[in-house]
Amino acid sequence: MSGTKQSLLTKTCRSNAYHNKYFGDHSKFLPIGLLLAVMALILAGCAPQAPAETPSPSSPRTLTVMTHDSFAISEDALQTFEQQNAVKVQFLKAGDTGTSLNKAILSKDNPLADVYYGVDNTFLSRALDEGIFQPYKSPLLANIPAEYQLDPNYFALPVDYGNVCLNYDKAYFTQNNLTPPQTLDDLLKADYKSLLVVQNPATSSPGLAFLLTTIAVYGEDGYIDYWKGLVANDVKVVNDWELAYYTEFSGSSGKGPRPIVVSYDSSPAYEVLYAETPLEEPPTAAVISDNTCFRQIEFVGILKGAKNLELAQKWVDFMLSPQFQQELPTQMFVFPVNSQAALDELFGKYLKQPLVTARVNPADIAAKRQVWLEAWTEAVLR
């Protein structure tokens, strides 16, 4: 544990040593800068240390892993991997899912990393078509159900999933003697007028997932009519999950005006886990009836041109192993695909998951994403 901290600290100080050198050049003319620099050094909490970097002979190798912003891992898990393989893992967080994939594609001739984790099933075809990965048939795939293995050629391997489902504010429905919605059709009823808030599918990944749910249920010919019905029933559209959940939704701590929101099946459990005051029951619940949720699956792959092929394969195996998989729910708010991974008891108690989720073929999503989004924008926003 201290090993990781130590090395992070050395890195900070190294970079400050660099700043120091830089300030030296200009300090004569710019005392402001010098003062700020000193302030920065103090605040960075780095007393001048021995500048010499001691190359530690035990871990000469580095593996670079590129991920999206939401990636997280515990110190213990990382240390296990680093010690077992005598390697130092460096993480590059490359923005949200779309941004990081863009970066992986634009740098494919001169890759930034050995491994890239974070492409999901809505972007999968795009990543495969661009040929950024090289295939690897990990032995751990044996423990992963076939429904998650969307790439039959093993370029992209499934790591985790999350279900995008409608969430509702339980108190609102009990107070108003109303049954929570059970199907997408319910949302068109007069009883649910002005209750729903969703995200713009062009800017938000749960928003896109919900649009895909409606396409799966009503078909390419029918989803626009369904959305026109939602508009007639006064659906509210905002650009991102944060605003929908914390500003518009009445079940979150933001206490907005609308009691139904598009979020995840796991959100109610997190309302308990991260409550302000300890809660017995989550204040919200997810609608999990058949074909109302969309399953997002996230994948890892070894980048073409990876410098450390053997280590990269070890890392992929590690991400699919129970040790890493078990901490997915607490670290990243998503769930393991490895059937051997055990869930924390909290999730056993509060997590309710859908049995049948709506499905759209990744190749169709890649081919028609733009057409669908444009038609949706035309029908709902204009």
Binding site: K11, I32, A72, K93, S253, G256, Y264
Partner: protein, 580 residues
Amino acid sequence: MHRNGKLKLPSWAGALVLWAAPLAFLGVFYLYPLVNILKISFTHSDRAVSPLIQALSSRSIQHVLWFTVWQAILSTALTLLLGLPGAYLMARYDFRGKALVQALSGIPFVLPTLVVAAAFNALLGPRGWVNLALMALLKTTQPPVTFVNSLSAILIAHVFYNTTIVLRLVGDFWAHLDPHLGQAARMLGANKWQELRYVSLPLLAPAITAAALLVFIFVFTSFGVILVLGGPRFATLEVEIYNQTLSLFNLPIAAALSIIQLICTLVFSIIYTRRVKHLARPLSLHPRRYTQHKLSNWREKILAGALIALLLGLLTTPLAALAARSFTRFEAERGQHTLVNASVTLDFYKELLINRRQSVFYIPPVRAIGVSFSYAAITVILALALGFPAAWALSRDSKEQKSPIDYINQILDPLLMLPLGTSAVTMGLGFLVALGRPPLDLRASPILVPLAHTLVAFPFVVRSLTPALRSIRPRLRQAAAVMGAPPLQVLRQIDLPLTGRAIIVAATFAFTISLGEFGATAMISRPEFPTIPVAIYRFISQPGALNYGQALALSTILMAVTAAGMLVIERLRIADIGEF
């Protein structure tokens, strides 16, 4: 003017020396990445029609372009409407707490949009204090005020963010104008308005135009405000570039839109450069203690009080609401659409100090503050070191005769604004494709963040310094030179002292821009070195009251360290610049 040939410094060569460093920096870290990404984007195009024509002929993109322009004009006008009276107050009067008012008015500038949205929401949202009070008063269950996702939200947020630009740029210039000119006009029978119209405003014109241009380009390329507060029905070019790049992977169209945005920026900058050349006049600038007086009579006190109340009301009430919320715990009475029981708590702040998930990426708040300050320090130094020579070169042009310097300046001046008009997404990807080969493999280097911040800060530094440098009477420099001072001594003893305040203003801008920048930082920062805004974003993107509370707590910390940083910069005095 140039009676003595030796005084025409700097000559051809001199101008080039001044321009060398800024141009080298912009060339390597701006132009080279930009050209690379645009080139790659266009080679991705498989259609026969040029993407530029395709973009310009699309009706929805014409719509976007039109909206971008008119909301920018309206936002700039509103910002000037609030900012100019505020600048007058700051310039001409000395009152207790002035430094604090100025620092508070600068805070919005650094806050990430998601936080500003949360701040306005705490005040004007469906369950904000205003709506809660109105609902109790009117006895309704529906919130009477709709704020989020409306045009007024966009306009108010733009004014909220950018008023500080007008306050600082115009206010500090105004503070050094000789009040005797106005007094002379009054003596000759002009009334207050005539004095303002025919004396003060013409003299202030360079600073006002500079501020207006900066505000305009900022709101013209507005991204977060439109996306978060404006909502899905509004899109500027910048938002459309983001959508086309990251959601639709339509790189050719995104590149075409980037170019349209750059051309617009260039056109506005050229118009500005043309206008401002005729506006600038050499002035005798005076230290503030000669130009300012205390609020003397009741009428002045009431007017000033009302103005301060208006400024603080708009600029700091949302911040106060946010800070208050970060110390408040609501009892769990979910779904009750009435006022809930609230109590004071430090829980969110305590939670910031705990690595509850044992995450490798856990960041103690002190660390994020340290990283943010380090980046800000480098940005201030780089931006000043590059901006001062550029501004100095710009201010050297002679009015009477056409010299080579004039031509160089005329071409370069508008180009300096381009980094402000460039989309953060485009730049982020540009760094990626261009800076990936040795000796410049900076793609994963932490130094990339302050370099990107410097690109944004640089035009601000140049625009804050140029009006002050231009207004120095050439005779002062000439006199110094006649008495035998070499160019460097002229710089140190004439230009630096007379522009001391402007340098402080420039430094403050660079500092706050770096502290608050989120778009580019999120794309290129390393997880070990997150800035405060990046750390805030990590919390606000997760469900659970504790995560939301921590985001608000960290935002409050960001506001506090920003205000502290600005007060420190205010107090900094450089040796002989002290007076100004």
